[in-house]
Protein backbone atom coordinates (compact mmCIF):
# COMPACT_ATOMS: atom_id res chain seq x y z
CA UNK A 1 0.00 0.00 0.00
CA UNK A 2 1.39 3.33 -0.91
CA UNK A 3 1.06 6.49 1.10
CA UNK A 4 -2.09 8.42 0.25
CA UNK A 5 -2.03 12.09 1.08
CA UNK A 6 -5.25 13.12 2.74
CA UNK A 7 -7.02 15.50 0.40
CA UNK A 8 -8.03 18.82 1.89
CA UNK A 9 -11.69 19.58 1.40
CA UNK A 10 -12.13 22.12 -1.35
CA UNK A 11 -14.05 25.02 0.04
CA UNK A 12 -15.90 26.40 -2.97
CA UNK A 13 -18.47 23.93 -4.16
CA UNK A 14 -22.03 24.02 -5.29
CA UNK A 15 -24.63 22.58 -2.94
CA UNK A 16 -25.38 19.72 -5.34
CA UNK A 17 -21.72 18.83 -5.54
CA UNK A 18 -21.40 19.01 -1.77
CA UNK A 19 -24.41 16.75 -1.40
CA UNK A 20 -23.04 14.21 -3.85
CA UNK A 21 -19.70 14.19 -2.06
CA UNK A 22 -21.16 13.95 1.43
CA UNK A 23 -20.61 10.32 2.41
CA UNK A 24 -23.36 10.48 5.03
CA UNK A 25 -26.10 11.53 2.60
CA UNK A 26 -25.03 8.83 0.19
CA UNK A 27 -25.01 6.14 2.85
CA UNK A 28 -28.35 7.24 4.29
CA UNK A 29 -30.10 7.35 0.95
CA UNK A 30 -28.72 3.97 0.03
CA UNK A 31 -29.83 2.31 3.24
CA UNK A 32 -33.20 4.09 3.23
CA UNK A 33 -33.93 2.86 -0.24
CA UNK A 34 -32.71 -0.62 0.61
CA UNK A 35 -35.06 -0.92 3.55
CA UNK A 36 -38.77 -1.64 3.32
CA UNK A 37 -39.69 1.36 5.40
CA UNK A 38 -39.33 3.92 2.65
CA UNK A 39 -41.66 1.91 0.46
CA UNK A 40 -44.14 1.54 3.33
CA UNK A 41 -44.16 5.28 4.04
CA UNK A 42 -44.73 6.11 0.38
CA UNK A 43 -47.54 3.57 0.12
CA UNK A 44 -49.33 4.62 3.30
CA UNK A 45 -49.04 8.27 2.30
CA UNK A 46 -50.56 7.58 -1.12
CA UNK A 47 -53.34 5.45 0.39
CA UNK A 48 -54.28 8.08 2.97
CA UNK A 49 -54.35 10.91 0.45
CA UNK A 50 -56.04 8.83 -2.21
CA UNK A 51 -58.67 7.61 0.25
CA UNK A 52 -59.47 11.08 1.51
CA UNK A 53 -59.66 12.60 -1.97
CA UNK A 54 -61.88 9.75 -3.23
CA UNK A 55 -64.18 10.26 -0.27
CA UNK A 56 -64.59 13.94 -1.11
CA UNK A 57 -65.09 13.20 -4.77
CA UNK A 58 -67.73 10.57 -4.08
CA UNK A 59 -69.57 12.83 -1.65
CA UNK A 60 -69.68 15.55 -4.28
CA UNK A 61 -70.47 13.18 -7.12
CA UNK A 62 -73.52 11.90 -5.25
CA UNK A 63 -74.90 15.36 -5.69
CA UNK A 64 -75.70 15.77 -9.40
CA UNK A 65 -75.75 19.55 -9.01
CA UNK A 66 -71.97 19.50 -8.75
CA UNK A 67 -71.40 18.87 -12.40
CA UNK A 68 -73.90 21.44 -13.59
CA UNK A 69 -71.89 24.59 -13.12
CA UNK A 70 -68.21 25.35 -13.66
CA UNK A 71 -68.07 27.21 -10.36
CA UNK A 72 -69.27 24.12 -8.49
CA UNK A 73 -66.58 22.14 -10.24
CA UNK A 74 -64.01 24.77 -9.34
CA UNK A 75 -64.87 24.64 -5.67
CA UNK A 76 -64.62 20.85 -5.86
CA UNK A 77 -61.15 21.34 -7.33
CA UNK A 78 -60.19 23.77 -4.58
CA UNK A 79 -61.52 21.46 -1.90
CA UNK A 80 -59.63 18.46 -3.21
CA UNK A 81 -56.45 20.50 -3.42
CA UNK A 82 -56.79 21.97 0.07
CA UNK A 83 -57.58 18.60 1.60
CA UNK A 84 -54.66 16.92 -0.14
CA UNK A 85 -52.25 19.65 0.93
CA UNK A 86 -53.59 19.74 4.50
CA UNK A 87 -53.35 15.98 4.85
CA UNK A 88 -49.87 16.00 3.36
CA UNK A 89 -48.89 18.72 5.79
CA UNK A 90 -49.95 16.62 8.78
CA UNK A 91 -48.20 13.55 7.44
CA UNK A 92 -45.05 15.51 6.61
CA UNK A 93 -44.76 16.81 10.18
CA UNK A 94 -44.63 13.26 11.48
CA UNK A 95 -42.61 11.59 8.73
CA UNK A 96 -40.03 14.38 8.81
CA UNK A 97 -39.40 14.36 12.52
CA UNK A 98 -39.40 10.57 12.64
CA UNK A 99 -37.09 10.15 9.68
CA UNK A 100 -34.45 12.34 11.30
CA UNK A 101 -34.93 11.25 14.89
CA UNK A 102 -32.45 8.38 14.66
CA UNK A 103 -29.85 10.38 12.78
CA UNK A 104 -27.25 10.77 15.51
CA UNK A 105 -28.58 8.62 18.34
CA UNK A 106 -28.66 5.50 16.19
CA UNK A 107 -25.01 6.04 15.30
CA UNK A 108 -24.31 6.22 19.02
CA UNK A 109 -26.33 3.06 19.64
CA UNK A 110 -24.55 1.15 16.88
CA UNK A 111 -21.24 2.42 18.26
CA UNK A 112 -20.38 3.87 14.89
CA UNK A 113 -20.57 7.43 16.21
CA UNK A 114 -17.07 7.25 17.66
CA UNK A 115 -15.74 5.75 14.46
CA UNK A 116 -17.17 8.70 12.55
CA UNK A 117 -15.83 11.20 15.07
CA UNK A 118 -12.28 9.89 14.71
CA UNK A 119 -12.39 10.40 10.93
CA UNK A 120 -11.75 13.77 9.32
CA UNK A 121 -15.46 14.25 8.60
CA UNK A 122 -16.46 17.55 10.24
CA UNK A 123 -19.38 17.52 12.67
CA UNK A 124 -21.12 19.96 10.33
CA UNK A 125 -20.95 17.53 7.40
CA UNK A 126 -22.29 14.74 9.58
CA UNK A 127 -25.25 16.80 10.73
CA UNK A 128 -26.02 18.39 7.35
CA UNK A 129 -25.60 15.06 5.57
CA UNK A 130 -28.13 13.42 7.85
CA UNK A 131 -30.51 16.36 7.52
CA UNK A 132 -30.23 16.41 3.74
CA UNK A 133 -31.06 12.71 3.55
CA UNK A 134 -34.14 13.16 5.75
CA UNK A 135 -35.37 16.24 3.88
CA UNK A 136 -34.79 14.68 0.47
CA UNK A 137 -36.75 11.61 1.46
CA UNK A 138 -39.65 13.73 2.67
CA UNK A 139 -39.59 15.78 -0.51
CA UNK A 140 -39.90 12.48 -2.34
CA UNK A 141 -42.96 11.64 -0.23
CA UNK A 142 -44.42 15.06 -1.07
CA UNK A 143 -43.65 14.62 -4.75
CA UNK A 144 -45.39 11.26 -4.71
CA UNK A 145 -48.57 13.05 -3.64
CA UNK A 146 -48.62 15.27 -6.72
CA UNK A 147 -50.52 12.83 -8.94
CA UNK A 148 -53.30 12.68 -6.36
CA UNK A 149 -53.39 16.42 -5.72
CA UNK A 150 -53.34 17.04 -9.46
CA UNK A 151 -56.77 15.43 -9.69
CA UNK A 152 -57.98 18.82 -8.54
CA UNK A 153 -56.53 20.43 -11.67
CA UNK A 154 -59.12 18.61 -13.80
CA UNK A 155 -61.81 20.63 -12.12
CA UNK A 156 -59.95 23.90 -12.36
CA UNK A 157 -60.09 26.58 -9.71
CA UNK A 158 -56.63 26.01 -8.29
CA UNK A 159 -54.32 28.90 -9.10
CA UNK A 160 -50.59 28.84 -9.69
CA UNK A 161 -50.18 31.06 -6.65
CA UNK A 162 -51.90 28.50 -4.46
CA UNK A 163 -49.69 25.75 -5.78
CA UNK A 164 -46.58 27.84 -5.09
CA UNK A 165 -47.67 28.68 -1.54
CA UNK A 166 -48.52 25.04 -0.82
CA UNK A 167 -45.08 23.98 -2.09
CA UNK A 168 -43.23 26.50 0.06
CA UNK A 169 -45.32 25.54 3.05
CA UNK A 170 -44.63 21.83 2.64
CA UNK A 171 -40.91 22.23 1.95
CA UNK A 172 -40.40 24.49 4.97
CA UNK A 173 -42.34 22.02 7.09
CA UNK A 174 -40.21 19.10 5.91
CA UNK A 175 -37.03 21.04 6.72
CA UNK A 176 -38.19 22.31 10.11
CA UNK A 177 -39.59 19.06 11.44
CA UNK A 178 -36.55 17.15 10.19
CA UNK A 179 -34.43 19.64 12.13
CA UNK A 180 -36.52 19.05 15.23
CA UNK A 181 -35.99 15.28 15.01
CA UNK A 182 -32.30 15.75 14.28
CA UNK A 183 -31.83 18.08 17.22
CA UNK A 184 -33.27 15.67 19.76
CA UNK A 185 -31.33 12.86 18.15
CA UNK A 186 -28.09 14.73 18.72
CA UNK A 187 -29.03 15.74 22.25
CA UNK A 188 -30.29 12.45 23.64
CA UNK A 189 -28.31 9.21 23.77
CA UNK A 190 -31.13 6.87 22.84
CA UNK A 191 -33.32 6.90 19.77
CA UNK A 192 -36.31 5.85 21.89
CA UNK A 193 -35.92 8.94 24.08
CA UNK A 194 -35.40 11.18 21.07
CA UNK A 195 -38.51 9.73 19.42
CA UNK A 196 -40.63 10.32 22.51
CA UNK A 197 -39.52 13.93 23.01
CA UNK A 198 -39.68 14.80 19.33
CA UNK A 199 -43.19 13.34 19.01
CA UNK A 200 -44.39 15.35 22.00
CA UNK A 201 -42.91 18.53 20.54
CA UNK A 202 -44.50 17.81 17.14
CA UNK A 203 -47.88 17.27 18.80
CA UNK A 204 -47.52 20.50 20.77
CA UNK A 205 -46.67 22.48 17.65
CA UNK A 206 -49.47 20.89 15.67
CA UNK A 207 -52.29 20.81 18.19
CA UNK A 208 -51.07 22.34 21.45
CA UNK A 209 -50.47 25.81 20.04
CA UNK A 210 -53.87 26.14 18.32
CA UNK A 211 -55.61 25.07 21.55
CA UNK A 212 -53.45 27.46 23.55
CA UNK A 213 -54.28 30.17 21.03
CA UNK A 214 -58.00 29.68 21.54
CA UNK A 215 -57.56 29.95 25.28
CA UNK A 216 -55.39 33.07 24.95
CA UNK A 217 -57.86 34.56 22.55
CA UNK A 218 -60.59 34.14 25.13
CA UNK A 219 -58.44 35.62 27.86
CA UNK A 220 -57.31 38.52 25.72
CA UNK A 221 -60.86 39.36 24.71
CA UNK A 222 -61.73 39.78 28.35
CA UNK A 223 -58.58 41.81 28.84
CA UNK A 224 -59.48 44.04 25.93
CA UNK A 225 -62.85 44.52 27.46
CA UNK A 226 -61.30 45.70 30.69
CA UNK A 227 -58.31 47.06 28.81
CA UNK A 228 -58.44 50.68 29.79
CA UNK A 229 -58.91 50.20 33.49
CA UNK A 230 -56.75 47.17 34.32
CA UNK A 231 -53.63 47.34 32.20
CA UNK A 232 -53.32 51.02 31.63
CA UNK A 233 -53.52 50.44 27.86
CA UNK A 234 -56.00 52.22 25.73
CA UNK A 235 -58.54 49.86 24.25
CA UNK A 236 -56.94 50.29 20.82
CA UNK A 237 -53.51 49.38 22.17
CA UNK A 238 -54.96 46.36 23.92
CA UNK A 239 -56.70 45.30 20.76
CA UNK A 240 -53.52 45.72 18.77
CA UNK A 241 -51.58 43.60 21.25
CA UNK A 242 -54.25 40.94 21.18
CA UNK A 243 -54.24 40.83 17.42
CA UNK A 244 -50.49 40.62 17.28
CA UNK A 245 -50.29 37.76 19.77
CA UNK A 246 -52.99 35.86 17.97
CA UNK A 247 -51.42 36.46 14.60
CA UNK A 248 -48.11 35.15 15.96
CA UNK A 249 -49.71 32.09 17.54
CA UNK A 250 -51.58 31.33 14.33
CA UNK A 251 -48.35 31.61 12.41
CA UNK A 252 -46.27 29.27 14.55
CA UNK A 253 -48.44 26.22 14.23
CA UNK A 254 -48.57 24.42 10.86
CA UNK A 255 -52.28 23.67 11.21
CA UNK A 256 -53.49 27.15 12.15
CA UNK A 257 -51.11 28.82 9.70
CA UNK A 258 -52.39 26.48 6.99
CA UNK A 259 -56.05 27.04 7.79
CA UNK A 260 -55.58 30.80 8.04
CA UNK A 261 -53.77 30.85 4.72
CA UNK A 262 -56.56 28.82 3.16
CA UNK A 263 -59.09 31.30 4.52
CA UNK A 264 -57.08 34.14 3.00
CA UNK A 265 -57.00 32.41 -0.35
CA UNK A 266 -60.73 31.70 -0.28
CA UNK A 267 -61.42 35.37 0.38
CA UNK A 268 -59.59 35.66 -2.88
CA UNK A 269 -57.97 39.00 -2.29
CA UNK A 270 -54.29 38.72 -1.54
CA UNK A 271 -52.31 35.83 -0.20
CA UNK A 272 -49.52 38.08 1.01
CA UNK A 273 -51.09 39.98 3.86
CA UNK A 274 -53.80 39.58 6.38
CA UNK A 275 -55.94 42.54 7.34
CA UNK A 276 -57.76 42.81 10.62
CA UNK A 277 -60.25 45.53 11.38
CA UNK A 278 -60.26 47.07 14.81
CA UNK A 279 -63.42 48.00 16.70
CA UNK A 280 -62.81 51.69 15.95
CA UNK A 281 -62.92 50.96 12.25
CA UNK A 282 -59.23 51.22 11.38
CA UNK A 283 -57.67 48.21 9.74
CA UNK A 284 -54.23 46.78 10.41
CA UNK A 285 -52.26 44.56 8.05
CA UNK A 286 -49.95 41.72 9.01
CA UNK A 287 -47.87 39.53 6.74
CA UNK A 288 -49.87 36.44 5.73
CA UNK A 289 -49.51 33.57 8.22
CA UNK A 290 -47.69 31.37 5.71
CA UNK A 291 -45.01 34.04 5.31
CA UNK A 292 -44.54 34.39 9.06
CA UNK A 293 -44.58 30.61 9.36
CA UNK A 294 -41.85 30.32 6.73
CA UNK A 295 -39.66 32.92 8.42
CA UNK A 296 -40.14 31.53 11.94
CA UNK A 297 -39.57 27.92 10.92
CA UNK A 298 -36.55 28.70 8.78
CA UNK A 299 -34.96 30.53 11.72
CA UNK A 300 -35.90 27.67 14.03
CA UNK A 301 -34.30 25.20 11.62
CA UNK A 302 -31.06 27.16 11.46
CA UNK A 303 -30.93 27.38 15.24
CA UNK A 304 -31.61 23.67 15.75
CA UNK A 305 -29.04 22.68 13.13
CA UNK A 306 -26.39 24.84 14.81
CA UNK A 307 -27.21 23.33 18.20
CA UNK A 308 -27.04 19.82 16.72
CA UNK A 309 -23.58 20.52 15.30
CA UNK A 310 -22.48 21.67 18.72
CA UNK A 311 -23.83 18.55 20.39
CA UNK A 312 -22.03 16.34 17.87
CA UNK A 313 -18.77 18.24 18.30
CA UNK A 314 -18.82 17.99 22.05
CA UNK A 315 -16.03 15.78 23.41
CA UNK A 316 -17.04 13.48 26.27
CA UNK A 317 -16.10 14.81 29.67
Amino acid sequence: MSAIPVQPTPIRRTFGEWLRRNPITLKEMRSRMRGRRAFAVLTVNALLLGGLVSLIYMTYAANTQTFNSPSNLQSLGKLIFATAVGMQLLITCFTSSSSAVGAISSERERQTFELLRTTLLPARSLVLGKLAAAVLFNLLVILSAIPIASLSFFFGGVTLEEIAIASVFLIVTALAFSSIGLFFSSLLRRTSQATAVSTVVTLILLFGIPVFMLIIQGLLSTMTYYGGSRTGMTSVEAELTRNFVIWLLISISPISAGVATLALLLENKTALSMTLTLSNGTSVSYPAPWIAYTVVYLLLSVLLIALSVRAVKRVDK
Binding site: M1, A3, V6, R110, T112, L115
Partner: protein, 318 residues
Protein backbone atom coordinates in the same frame (compact mmCIF):
# COMPACT_ATOMS: atom_id res chain seq x y z
CA UNK B 1 13.50 11.46 17.07
CA UNK B 2 10.83 12.19 19.68
CA UNK B 3 8.50 9.33 20.54
CA UNK B 4 5.51 9.04 18.20
CA UNK B 5 3.16 8.58 21.14
CA UNK B 6 3.92 10.58 24.23
CA UNK B 7 1.73 10.52 27.30
CA UNK B 8 2.59 12.90 30.12
CA UNK B 9 1.02 12.79 33.57
CA UNK B 10 -2.31 11.90 32.04
CA UNK B 11 -5.20 11.72 34.49
CA UNK B 12 -8.87 11.01 34.08
CA UNK B 13 -11.57 10.91 36.69
CA UNK B 14 -15.14 9.78 36.29
CA UNK B 15 -16.76 11.69 39.10
CA UNK B 16 -14.76 10.67 42.15
CA UNK B 17 -13.40 7.49 40.61
CA UNK B 18 -9.89 7.83 39.19
CA UNK B 19 -9.59 5.74 36.04
CA UNK B 20 -6.18 7.00 34.87
CA UNK B 21 -3.74 8.34 37.41
CA UNK B 22 -0.78 10.48 36.23
CA UNK B 23 0.14 8.04 33.52
CA UNK B 24 3.41 8.45 31.63
CA UNK B 25 4.36 6.50 28.56
CA UNK B 26 6.39 6.91 25.39
CA UNK B 27 6.15 4.73 22.31
CA UNK B 28 8.71 4.93 19.51
CA UNK B 29 7.79 4.85 15.84
CA UNK B 30 7.62 1.34 14.42
CA UNK B 31 6.96 -0.38 17.73
CA UNK B 32 4.31 -2.93 18.49
CA UNK B 33 3.49 -1.81 21.97
CA UNK B 34 1.29 -3.98 24.18
CA UNK B 35 -0.70 -2.10 26.80
CA UNK B 36 -1.49 -4.82 29.29
CA UNK B 37 -3.60 -4.74 32.39
CA UNK B 38 -6.52 -6.40 34.11
CA UNK B 39 -10.11 -5.32 33.42
CA UNK B 40 -10.86 -1.89 34.79
CA UNK B 41 -7.21 -0.85 34.87
CA UNK B 42 -7.86 2.18 32.63
CA UNK B 43 -6.77 0.92 29.22
CA UNK B 44 -9.91 1.89 27.30
CA UNK B 45 -10.00 5.27 29.02
CA UNK B 46 -6.40 5.98 27.98
CA UNK B 47 -7.01 4.87 24.41
CA UNK B 48 -10.16 6.97 24.10
CA UNK B 49 -8.24 10.03 25.27
CA UNK B 50 -5.56 9.32 22.66
CA UNK B 51 -8.28 8.93 20.01
CA UNK B 52 -9.62 12.44 20.87
CA UNK B 53 -12.94 10.98 22.03
CA UNK B 54 -12.55 11.76 25.70
CA UNK B 55 -11.10 14.77 27.46
CA UNK B 56 -8.52 14.18 30.20
CA UNK B 57 -8.70 16.00 33.51
CA UNK B 58 -4.98 16.57 33.60
CA UNK B 59 -1.76 15.97 31.74
CA UNK B 60 -1.17 15.87 28.02
CA UNK B 61 -0.76 13.41 25.21
CA UNK B 62 0.85 13.87 21.81
CA UNK B 63 0.65 11.74 18.72
CA UNK B 64 3.18 12.46 16.00
CA UNK B 65 3.63 15.85 17.63
CA UNK B 66 -0.08 16.76 17.64
CA UNK B 67 -1.64 17.55 20.96
CA UNK B 68 -4.68 15.40 21.64
CA UNK B 69 -6.31 18.31 23.39
CA UNK B 70 -5.31 21.23 21.17
CA UNK B 71 -5.07 19.64 17.75
CA UNK B 72 -7.62 16.81 17.64
CA UNK B 73 -7.95 17.05 13.85
CA UNK B 74 -4.20 16.66 13.44
CA UNK B 75 -4.36 13.58 15.64
CA UNK B 76 -7.31 12.13 13.72
CA UNK B 77 -5.38 12.40 10.50
CA UNK B 78 -2.50 10.27 11.76
CA UNK B 79 -4.28 7.62 13.80
CA UNK B 80 -6.42 4.64 12.97
CA UNK B 81 -8.59 3.85 15.98
CA UNK B 82 -10.41 0.62 16.64
CA UNK B 83 -12.67 0.63 19.71
CA UNK B 84 -13.33 -2.47 21.78
CA UNK B 85 -16.70 -2.82 20.05
CA UNK B 86 -17.14 -3.24 16.33
CA UNK B 87 -19.44 -0.53 14.98
CA UNK B 88 -21.84 -2.28 12.65
CA UNK B 89 -24.11 -0.87 10.01
CA UNK B 90 -26.83 -3.41 9.38
CA UNK B 91 -27.37 -2.60 5.78
CA UNK B 92 -23.90 -2.29 4.36
CA UNK B 93 -21.72 -4.53 2.29
CA UNK B 94 -18.10 -5.13 3.18
CA UNK B 95 -16.75 -2.96 0.36
CA UNK B 96 -19.30 -0.22 1.05
CA UNK B 97 -18.19 -0.13 4.67
CA UNK B 98 -14.59 0.57 3.72
CA UNK B 99 -15.57 2.89 0.90
CA UNK B 100 -17.80 4.88 3.25
CA UNK B 101 -15.05 5.45 5.80
CA UNK B 102 -12.63 6.30 3.01
CA UNK B 103 -15.04 9.03 1.94
CA UNK B 104 -15.14 10.27 5.53
CA UNK B 105 -11.40 10.91 5.15
CA UNK B 106 -12.13 12.87 1.96
CA UNK B 107 -10.49 10.29 -0.29
CA UNK B 108 -11.55 10.49 -3.91
CA UNK B 109 -13.77 7.84 -5.42
CA UNK B 110 -11.17 6.34 -7.75
CA UNK B 111 -8.58 6.21 -4.98
CA UNK B 112 -11.06 4.55 -2.66
CA UNK B 113 -11.82 1.80 -5.16
CA UNK B 114 -8.16 0.85 -5.36
CA UNK B 115 -7.64 1.17 -1.61
CA UNK B 116 -10.65 -0.99 -0.78
CA UNK B 117 -9.31 -3.74 -3.02
CA UNK B 118 -5.81 -3.48 -1.52
CA UNK B 119 -7.11 -3.54 2.03
CA UNK B 120 -9.43 -6.47 1.44
CA UNK B 121 -6.46 -8.29 -0.01
CA UNK B 122 -4.34 -7.39 3.02
CA UNK B 123 -6.84 -8.74 5.54
CA UNK B 124 -7.59 -11.71 3.31
CA UNK B 125 -11.24 -10.85 2.75
CA UNK B 126 -11.41 -10.33 -1.00
CA UNK B 127 -13.98 -13.12 -1.45
CA UNK B 128 -16.24 -11.44 1.14
CA UNK B 129 -16.42 -8.05 -0.51
CA UNK B 130 -20.14 -8.23 -1.28
CA UNK B 131 -21.29 -9.80 1.98
CA UNK B 132 -23.26 -7.79 4.52
CA UNK B 133 -21.08 -6.67 7.43
CA UNK B 134 -23.51 -7.77 10.13
CA UNK B 135 -23.47 -11.33 8.79
CA UNK B 136 -19.70 -11.70 9.21
CA UNK B 137 -18.15 -13.75 12.00
CA UNK B 138 -16.59 -11.87 14.89
CA UNK B 139 -13.10 -12.64 13.61
CA UNK B 140 -13.98 -11.33 10.15
CA UNK B 141 -15.52 -8.19 11.63
CA UNK B 142 -12.38 -7.60 13.61
CA UNK B 143 -10.26 -7.93 10.48
CA UNK B 144 -12.58 -5.62 8.59
CA UNK B 145 -12.32 -3.17 11.50
CA UNK B 146 -8.56 -3.32 11.18
CA UNK B 147 -8.81 -2.68 7.45
CA UNK B 148 -11.00 0.32 8.23
CA UNK B 149 -8.38 1.83 10.51
CA UNK B 150 -5.93 1.67 7.61
CA UNK B 151 -7.99 3.39 4.93
CA UNK B 152 -6.25 6.77 5.26
CA UNK B 153 -2.80 5.21 5.68
CA UNK B 154 -2.27 6.42 9.26
CA UNK B 155 1.12 6.27 10.97
CA UNK B 156 -0.25 5.04 14.28
CA UNK B 157 -2.82 2.37 15.03
CA UNK B 158 -4.63 2.56 18.35
CA UNK B 159 -6.42 -0.71 18.93
CA UNK B 160 -8.53 -1.54 21.95
CA UNK B 161 -8.46 -5.26 22.71
CA UNK B 162 -8.20 -6.28 19.05
CA UNK B 163 -8.03 -9.96 19.90
CA UNK B 164 -10.65 -10.22 22.59
CA UNK B 165 -13.63 -12.45 22.00
CA UNK B 166 -11.96 -14.26 19.13
CA UNK B 167 -11.38 -17.97 18.76
CA UNK B 168 -7.74 -19.11 18.93
CA UNK B 169 -7.34 -19.26 15.19
CA UNK B 170 -8.72 -15.77 14.61
CA UNK B 171 -6.47 -14.54 17.41
CA UNK B 172 -3.41 -15.87 15.66
CA UNK B 173 -4.56 -14.25 12.41
CA UNK B 174 -4.96 -10.86 14.08
CA UNK B 175 -1.52 -11.17 15.66
CA UNK B 176 0.00 -11.98 12.29
CA UNK B 177 -1.73 -8.97 10.82
CA UNK B 178 -0.33 -6.68 13.50
CA UNK B 179 3.17 -7.93 12.74
CA UNK B 180 2.53 -7.36 9.04
CA UNK B 181 1.39 -3.80 9.76
CA UNK B 182 4.49 -3.06 11.81
CA UNK B 183 6.53 -4.36 8.90
CA UNK B 184 4.71 -1.81 6.74
CA UNK B 185 6.08 0.87 9.05
CA UNK B 186 3.08 1.48 11.27
CA UNK B 187 3.30 1.98 14.99
CA UNK B 188 0.88 -0.37 16.70
CA UNK B 189 -0.37 0.52 20.15
CA UNK B 190 -2.84 -2.02 21.42
CA UNK B 191 -4.43 -2.94 24.71
CA UNK B 192 -5.13 -6.39 26.01
CA UNK B 193 -5.80 -8.25 29.20
CA UNK B 194 -4.57 -11.47 27.64
CA UNK B 195 -0.86 -12.01 28.12
CA UNK B 196 -0.45 -14.52 25.36
CA UNK B 197 -1.26 -11.70 22.93
CA UNK B 198 1.80 -9.69 23.83
CA UNK B 199 4.21 -12.56 24.35
CA UNK B 200 5.06 -13.27 20.75
CA UNK B 201 4.68 -10.01 18.90
CA UNK B 202 5.35 -7.00 21.08
CA UNK B 203 8.58 -5.08 20.91
CA UNK B 204 7.70 -3.61 24.29
CA UNK B 205 4.93 -3.80 26.81
CA UNK B 206 3.59 -1.42 29.40
CA UNK B 207 1.73 -2.89 32.33
CA UNK B 208 -1.09 -0.77 33.71
CA UNK B 209 -2.67 -1.31 37.05
CA UNK B 210 -5.32 0.89 38.68
CA UNK B 211 -4.61 3.74 36.25
CA UNK B 212 -0.84 3.70 36.68
CA UNK B 213 1.98 2.24 34.66
CA UNK B 214 3.72 -0.26 36.91
CA UNK B 215 6.34 -1.48 34.45
CA UNK B 216 7.49 -0.93 30.88
CA UNK B 217 10.12 -2.62 28.80
CA UNK B 218 10.75 -5.59 26.56
CA UNK B 219 9.48 -8.88 27.87
CA UNK B 220 13.07 -9.93 28.59
CA UNK B 221 13.68 -6.82 30.62
CA UNK B 222 10.52 -7.32 32.57
CA UNK B 223 11.35 -10.93 33.24
CA UNK B 224 14.88 -10.15 34.35
CA UNK B 225 13.98 -7.11 36.34
CA UNK B 226 11.43 -9.03 38.28
CA UNK B 227 13.16 -12.34 38.72
CA UNK B 228 14.75 -11.85 42.11
CA UNK B 229 15.79 -15.44 41.97
CA UNK B 230 16.53 -17.56 38.97
CA UNK B 231 15.97 -21.26 38.92
CA UNK B 232 18.57 -23.37 37.05
CA UNK B 233 17.99 -27.00 36.23
CA UNK B 234 21.01 -29.21 35.68
CA UNK B 235 20.87 -32.95 35.05
CA UNK B 236 24.04 -35.01 35.45
CA UNK B 237 24.69 -38.67 34.68
CA UNK B 238 27.20 -39.16 37.47
CA UNK B 239 29.22 -37.42 40.19
CA UNK B 240 26.18 -35.60 41.48
CA UNK B 241 27.64 -35.02 44.92
CA UNK B 242 30.78 -33.39 43.47
CA UNK B 243 28.65 -31.16 41.28
CA UNK B 244 26.46 -30.23 44.21
CA UNK B 245 29.47 -29.23 46.30
CA UNK B 246 30.96 -27.16 43.45
CA UNK B 247 27.67 -25.34 42.83
CA UNK B 248 27.00 -24.62 46.47
CA UNK B 249 30.35 -22.89 46.74
CA UNK B 250 29.64 -20.48 43.85
CA UNK B 251 28.73 -16.89 44.72
CA UNK B 252 25.05 -16.14 44.22
CA UNK B 253 23.89 -19.69 44.69
CA UNK B 254 21.28 -19.88 47.39
CA UNK B 255 20.84 -23.62 47.55
CA UNK B 256 21.06 -26.82 45.55
CA UNK B 257 18.61 -29.67 45.78
CA UNK B 258 19.32 -33.03 44.24
CA UNK B 259 16.70 -35.50 43.05
CA UNK B 260 17.33 -38.84 41.47
CA UNK B 261 15.25 -39.01 38.33
CA UNK B 262 13.31 -42.19 37.89
CA UNK B 263 13.29 -43.99 34.54
CA UNK B 264 15.96 -41.68 33.26
CA UNK B 265 19.13 -43.82 33.16
CA UNK B 266 20.35 -42.85 36.57
CA UNK B 267 20.27 -39.11 35.98
CA UNK B 268 20.39 -36.80 38.91
CA UNK B 269 18.55 -33.55 38.63
CA UNK B 270 19.96 -30.56 40.48
CA UNK B 271 17.78 -27.57 41.15
CA UNK B 272 19.88 -24.48 41.77
CA UNK B 273 18.54 -21.27 43.25
CA UNK B 274 20.64 -18.48 41.80
CA UNK B 275 20.76 -14.69 41.80
CA UNK B 276 23.69 -13.96 39.41
CA UNK B 277 23.54 -12.44 35.96
CA UNK B 278 23.96 -14.15 32.59
CA UNK B 279 27.81 -14.03 32.75
CA UNK B 280 27.76 -15.79 36.12
CA UNK B 281 25.33 -18.33 34.72
CA UNK B 282 27.66 -19.03 31.83
CA UNK B 283 30.61 -19.34 34.24
CA UNK B 284 28.62 -21.90 36.19
CA UNK B 285 28.29 -24.06 33.10
CA UNK B 286 32.00 -23.69 32.12
CA UNK B 287 33.06 -24.59 35.68
CA UNK B 288 31.06 -27.80 35.53
CA UNK B 289 32.39 -28.82 32.12
CA UNK B 290 35.97 -27.92 33.16
CA UNK B 291 35.58 -30.54 35.87
CA UNK B 292 34.32 -32.98 33.22
CA UNK B 293 31.11 -33.55 35.06
CA UNK B 294 28.79 -35.42 32.65
CA UNK B 295 26.04 -32.89 32.06
CA UNK B 296 23.04 -33.96 29.99
CA UNK B 297 20.80 -30.98 30.62
CA UNK B 298 21.36 -27.39 31.62
CA UNK B 299 18.55 -24.84 31.51
CA UNK B 300 17.13 -21.83 33.18
CA UNK B 301 13.55 -22.15 34.21
CA UNK B 302 12.22 -18.95 32.80
CA UNK B 303 9.53 -17.37 34.84
CA UNK B 304 6.41 -17.32 32.79
CA UNK B 305 4.48 -14.23 31.90
CA UNK B 306 1.55 -15.03 34.11
CA UNK B 307 3.89 -15.04 37.09
CA UNK B 308 5.26 -11.63 36.20
CA UNK B 309 1.83 -10.27 35.57
CA UNK B 310 0.51 -11.61 38.85
CA UNK B 311 3.50 -10.18 40.66
CA UNK B 312 3.06 -6.74 39.10
CA UNK B 313 -0.66 -6.47 39.41
CA UNK B 314 -1.08 -8.21 42.73
CA UNK B 315 -2.15 -4.98 44.38
CA UNK B 316 -5.51 -5.39 42.70
CA UNK B 317 -5.88 -8.79 44.31
CA UNK B 318 -4.95 -7.65 47.80
Amino acid sequence: MPPIIEIKDLSKKYGKRTAVNQLNLAVEAGEIFGFVGPNGAGKTTTLRILATLLRANGGEAFIAGHSVRKAPRGVRGVIGYMPDSFGIYHDMRVWEYLDFFGACYHLREGERKRLVNDLLELVDMTPRRDEMVDKLSRGMQQRLGLARTLIHDPQVLILDEPASGLDPRARVEIRELLVELARMGKTVFFSTHILADVAEICTRVGIIEAGRIVATGTLDELQRGLATQRAVHISVLDRATEAQEFLSALPGVGGVEAHVEQNQQQRTRLEVKFTGDDAALSAMLSGLTARSIPIVHFSEDSQNLEDIFMQLTKSSLD
